[in-house]
């Protein structure tokens, strides 16, 4: 975090703020009185639990003995890192590369990779498409409000909305919209949420429905900041709209696209509620955050659950650092 600490005064000086007026001297204790409530609450609810989670991840299921005591003879054991062995390898079949590959794609990690690939691509490209098109029409505000609306709804509410779309009727009548369309076209109804591997993609569609508005809004603001003179000049020089988009617009908004991608990767890695409501993590739809919840609160395996939490944050950290840095750069430019 050293780089971040250095970045702040630099950014603030650029904005011309943050130097305390010389006339406003105060008692030595005053600042700490103002800071105390926030510092205390944050110490108790963020710093302490974070450290405690790390400690617990090296212990057994209720934190009463070190993790190696849970090892079983003749089975692989990573000693003090036993919970991490469980967290990383339990879902995988490591006998051959082939089984490793196929079990990986059915594991929570594989599902998270699917989530990242499909959802980030989907939200960013759809968001960019809508931002680009809505810029040219008179009802821009309406389009944006409609696409952004799901952001206001809880994952639980969105889950119910889409569970109904995906409803699978065992009788003749299909009350789920998707199966009604499929049967009207002469197909057989599908149990969308119970059939792997399509069920994971069906949940990802809900995620795209929720988050596209977010990507659209950020990308739209960035698109509007591209100077029209440059675009016009290119058009006068004979560039097609397609070329203008790929050669000028995209490179100019690239920093924003990268911010959006990192934010989306972070969001996707933490996804929990959607899977919880739509399938409860069953039928092969489990993701890392759900697995952690299951270990902690269904199986009461604190050590394993916290180990998964630590794995999750280790995966998240690089994206978050990247994200905060980019965010700072943008703030400084503004």
């Amino acid at each position: 975090m050293a780089t971040d600490a250095a970045a702040i005064p630099k950014a603030s000086q650029k904005a011309g703020t943050s130097t305390v007026p010389q006339v406003m001297k105060q008692g030595r204790l005053t600042p700490w009185l103002y800071l105390a409530p926030a510092l205390i609450v944050m110490a108790v609810f963020i710093v302490y639990p974070m450290l405690n989670t790390i400690t617990l991840s090296f212990q057994n299921k209720n934190g009463s003995a070190p993790a190696w005591t849970t090892c079983v003879a003749d089975r692989p054991c990573w000693g003090i890192l036993e919970n991490y062995r469980y967290a990383l390898t339990n879902e995988l079949d490591t006998r051959t590369l082939g089984t490793l590959w196929s079990t990986f794609w059915r594991s929570s990690y594989g599902n998270n990779v699917k989530w990242i690939l499909v959802m980030v691509t989907g939200t960013v490209s759809l968001g960019l498409l809508i931002a680009l098109f809505s810029d040219r029409v008179k009802y821009e505000a309406l389009v944006k409000a409609v696409i952004f609306m799901p952001m206001a709804i809880s994952f639980v509410g969105a889950g119910i909305i889409w569970k109904f779309v995906y409803d699978f009727g065992t009788q003749q009548v299909q009350i789920g919209l998707l199966n009604a369309i499929v049967t009207a076209l002469g197909g057989q109804p599908v149990a969308w949420l119970q059939t792997p591997p399509i069920n994971t993609f069906m949940i990802i569609v809900v995620g795209i429905w929720i988050w596209t508005g977010f990507c659209m809004t950020i990308l739209s603001a960035s698109l509007k900041s591209v100077p029209t003179e440059i675009l016009e000049a290119a058009r006068v020089d004979g560039a097609t709209e397609w070329e203008v988009f790929w050669r000028i617009t995209v490179p100019m908004i690239m920093p924003t696209i990268i911010v959006v991608i990192t934010v989306m990767v972070i969001n996707v890695l933490k996804i929990f509620d959607l899977v919880y409501v739509l399938t409860g993590g069953n039928y092969g739809t489990e993701v890392i955050a759900n697995r952690m919840y299951t270990e902690m609160y269904i199986n009461f395996q604190t050590g394993r659950g916290t180990a998964i939490a630590v794995v999750l944050i280790l995966v998240l950290i690089p994206f978050m650092i990247l994200n905060i840095r980019r965010f700072r750069e943008q703030e400084a430019l503004r």
Binding site: M1, D4, A5, A7, P9, T17, V20, P21, V23, M24, K25, T30, P31, Y34, L35, P37, A38, V41, V44, F45, I46, N52, T53, L56, S134, V143, V146, F148, M149, A152, I153, S154, F155, V156, G157, I160, I161, W162, K163, F164, V165, V173, I175, G176, L177, A180, W209, T217, V263, Y276, V277, M296, Y297, T302, A309, V310, L312, L316, I321, I324
Partner: protein
């Protein structure tokens, strides 16, 4: 000139087509939820919500088999007026209706040379006859699902009809006190408010204090500490659940509102401090200097100057935090659970324990998204701003 204009319009058609498709795709799922929540529960499982405006069941079969003689409205034969409840009441079911159709009238077959309807058609016709004779005219739309969801009623029929018949469950009184039924959405609504309001005010208040210190007070390690606090934004919520629930178990805070308020305050603070500090720090320095020269203390400068000026930041932050807490499931699930159910918990509980009760689920889900929708459409500008700035929150 005209040609150019035409080309321009033609050229913009794909744009409109794409945008309108997106709007429709985005709205249809929610529209389906809303319409379904307003339909009688018998209809919900019988036909898709998109058929809600189509002709009532049985009309087509009636037109095919009966309209020729009885007329489209059933009144063409005064001696056999099908809108007469007394007459229709003799054939409430398909078999009775079929028996009547097979009987001769004045020595002639009832249906002449036409074939007798299939049993399914006969059933549909019977339903349709009851409708046009106003023996049984179920409304197309009803608010009963919302009443059931608010009361948490899970009987065979609706809360209102069962209460009228005196058949409601034992723990219900069929009066306003049922609104406090712990399985109902109205109780959950109150709980959600009780959780959300303090969990919104507390972090903003604490962040205001801290942000003032970071902006306008001088102390050693100011920038380092600020960077540290901002960096805490990246800690994911899931990291802290287990230690805090163990701590709460010792303090007896599991299942209490206080526990959830404090938890949300802790997690709301890093982002709140970040946003407030950026806003307060950008206020003109002269303002604070002259206030100080006029004899204002830091407390006065904070309450009279900084807080009122920070209203836009507080609005964005407040809306963001409010919706964050209102929509949260995980924290409510872990720390409150069923002892004090909030709306998200109540709905997820209905999903797992009820399975197919779409009339309840759709109404409950719509109730829970009412408040966020109102906030969103009423205060869209602040909402979007707060959300964008908070995109790095953990």
């Amino acid at each position: 000139m005209n040609r150019e204009r035409l080309l321009h319009i033609l050229g913009s058609i794909p744009t409109h087509a794409v945008l309108l498709t997106m709007i429709v795709l985005w709205l249809i799922p929610t529209l389906g939820l809303l319409i379904t929540s307003l339909r009688p529960f018998q209809d919900i499982n019988r036909s898709g919500w998109w058929t809600v405006l189509s002709p009532p069941p049985g009309q087509a079969a009636y037109a095919q088999h009966c309209a020729e003689c009885h007329g489209a409205d059933g009144q063409a034969l005064p001696a056999a007026d099908l809108t007469d409840p007394e007459l229709v009441g003799q054939y409430p079911r398909s078999l009775q209706l079929l028996a009547a159709l097979r009987r001769d009238i004045d020595g002639q077959p009832h249906l002449g040379n036409n074939p007798t309807p299939e049993i399914q058609d006969a059933a549909d016709i019977a339903v349709y006859l009851k409708r046009i004779s106003s023996i049984e005219t179920p409304p197309r739309f009803t608010l009963d699902n919302y009443i059931d969801a608010l009361m948490g009623y899970r009987g065979r029929a609706t809360y209102r009809s069962d209460c009228a018949a005196g058949q409601a469950a034992l723990d219900l009184n069929c009066n306003a006190s049922d609104l406090l039924n712990p399985r109902g959405m109205s109780r959950a609504f109150i709980n959600s408010l009780l959780v959300t309001i303090p969990a919104t005010i507390l972090p903003i208040l604490f962040a205001g204090f801290a942000a003032y210190a970071f902006s306008w007070l001088d102390f050693p390690g100011r920038n380092g500490l600020f960077a540290l606090l901002v960096a805490l934004q990246i800690v994911p919520l899931q990291m802290t659940l287990v230690p805090i629930s163990r701590l709460y178990a010792q303090l007896g805070l599991n299942g209490t509102f206080l526990g959830v308020w404090l938890f949300h305050t802790g997690f709301g603070l890093p982002y709140a401090i970040y946003l407030m500090r950026n806003f307060l720090g950008a206020l003109p320095r002269d303002l604070f200097e002259s206030a100080y020269l006029d004899g204002a203390s830091h407390w006065t400068a904070f309450t009279r100057l900084a807080l009122p000026l920070a209203t836009p930041a507080i609005a964005s932050l407040g809306i963001f935090q409010f919706l964050w807490v209102w929509n949260d499931l995980l924290v409510a699930l872990v720390f409150l659970g069923g002892t004090r159910p909030v709306m998200t918990y109540q709905i997820s509980n209905m999903v797992t324990s009820l399975g197919a009760g779409w009339h309840l689920l759709t109404a409950a889900a719509f109730l829970s998204i009412l408040v966020p929708m109102a906030v969103f459409f009423g205060l869209q500008r602040y909402f979007v701003r707060g959300l964008l700035a908070g995109s790095v929150k953990g």
